[in-house]
Amino acid sequence: MPTIELKNISNFICRNISATISNGELLVLLGPTGAGKTTLLNIICGLAPYEGSVVFDDEPIDAIPISRRRIGYLFQDLALFPHLDVRRNIIYGLSIKKWGQDQIGARLDEMCTLLNIGHLLGRYPKDLSGGERQRVALARSLAPVPRVLLLDEPFNSLDIKTRKYLRLEFKRIVKALGLTTIFVTHDFKEAEEVGDRLAVIESGRLEQVATPQEIFFSPNGYKVADFLGSPNIFDCEGYEALGNGLVKAACEGFTIVTVWDKGDLRKIAISPEDIYVSRDEPPGPPINRFRGTIVEEVSSNSLITITIKTETKDVLARIRKEDFLAENLSVGSDVFFILPLRNLKGA
């Protein structure tokens, strides 16, 4: 599978984007709506005009027509042909390329085994569930043996449970095939679960390309930090192991218990929306429970971001407006907050 190089890519949305995606790497293109994620995918497969160059293994593909770029593309709406049953959808690309019947049959069997969709072959797309449609669309993209796989927010329309299951399944399949893959999403949690590296794109510019952990703990500039939801990052001065993979760390005046078994713990981070806030003292042991005073509230849509001042550090929390009102909170309120164990990230 090729290494993809994007050299000074510009068009009506993208601005001078350069990046390299290694052979077999799964890069997640992360950014808000309208940032240029889909446009960049369209550029790579030749569907959008651009300046600059797209290179596969040192060979520029800019002059190669879309139909000969050998790219697998999973659209956001999947674009399964409604008039073809699952079997004919999957083999569409193979029939177009005039594969022999034996080859088509063998490849179809491979796809059915890989994605566990053998029982769906006679059905039409309208008779499939959301998850089944995703699998069939992925099979159709993979069947013609693409060199590169592009996925444009493929799991968006699914419920949370199916989505989580499918993205793990998807990662397993892509890694097993060793495909160079670009996966687009606007969800950081999805991105960190799926990607080897993340590329954060904002207003057509590539702001940062790094591992999920690097991006979360060291966002490159306020745009990236803002997109990630401005996570709270605690610098740790020391920690002691509690056993069972747990450690107790001293971080900027907070004693935080977290899961950690990867060597030296330097930082702990948590997203503002993962913090529980209440006016009354929460029940349970006094672990990861702290007190502070609300010093600022910023409202946006259905959420309110509050700044909680403690003796040593200001902590950001994001809660639903209705919860904020139900708890009768306002600037000046003394509150308790919890840093849930499973939402803490270490570095």
Binding site: I66, S67, G72, Y73, A79, F81, P82, Y92, I96, K126
Partner: protein
């Protein structure tokens, strides 16, 4: 199970039976003034049989049927073919759209006087009228169908390696079929209405001409027979296209 289903009475027939019975009773009891203008259903059916037996109805019906089939088939075929080209190729669409937009609003029968002068009274006249009647609606439905195919399907086919011609054959035309059939279905009935009108005005043979002769002879029974034939043919044509549409697109449409 199927046998039981077959034996189950079709309740849709009941209103028709009541209507026919009422018709018969009202006509027989002379409840409508001027009985010549309102013959009983049984008299109409007797005349139906008589007209079939003496060949008048069959001859006129076949004349109309052949005109409709030829005109409708050629008009639809031309409409579908040009519609596909115009829906697919924007340059052709831009070149032909203005002139076709001017011609489309003209009612098919509006062409009758000029066509009579050009072609004279002959078979070509009604066939051309039916051609025009079928061509435009089928053309516009086909263009709408082709243009209405979501871009995502075209892009997906393109990325999977399909050429423009392959995209047309394997994606655009199949996905435009429901629209094309809507045009065909509507125009199949319309073709019969138009041929009757054309035959009534200008052609000496066919169901329309028979209607006009019956009118001049004050034979309401024959007029009703012709209307029944017309109704059945419109219904048959429409049902045929519903059946074909279901056969071709029912599994996924």
């Amino acid at each position: 199970m199927n046998r039981v289903k077959k034996l189950t009475p079709r309740w849709e027939i009941l209103p028709v039976a009541i209507f026919l019975a009422l018709w018969e009773v009202v006509a027989r009891l002379n409840l409508v003034p001027g009985q010549f203008f309102f013959p009983p259903f049984s008299v109409v059916m007797r005349e139906f049989g008589h007209l079939i037996a003496n060949g008048v109805l069959v001859d006129n019906f076949l004349s109309s049927l052949i005109r409709v089939l030829i005109g409708f088939f050629t008009g639809s075929l031309a409409g579908v073919a040009l519609g596909i080209i115009m829906g697919w190729n924007e340059a052709t669409n831009k070149a032909l759209h203005p002139i076709l937009s001017l011609l489309y609003p003209i009612p098919a029968l509006g062409w009758l006087p000029i066509l009579m002068l050009w072609f004279g009274i002959g078979e070509l006249l009604p066939i051309t009228i039916i051609f025009i009647c079928s061509f435009f609606p089928v053309l516009y439905n086909t263009i709408t169908g082709i243009k209405g195919v979501p871009t995502g399907f075209i892009r997906a086919a393109e990325i999977l390696g399909a050429s423009r011609t392959e995209i047309l054959k394997t994606v655009l035309v199949p996905l435009a079929l429901p629209n094309i059939f809507t045009g065909l279905r509507l125009e199949a009935g319309m073709a019969w209405r138009v041929i009757i009108a054309a035959e009534m005005v200008a052609i000496p043979t066919g169901i329309g001409a028979l209607l006009m002769r019956a009118e001049s002879l004050i034979r309401v029974d024959i007029i009703i027979v012709c209307l029944i034939v017309l109704s059945i043919m419109c219904l048959c044509f429409e049902k045929f296209f519903i059946f074909m549409e279901h056969r071709l697109t029912g599994k996924w449409g």
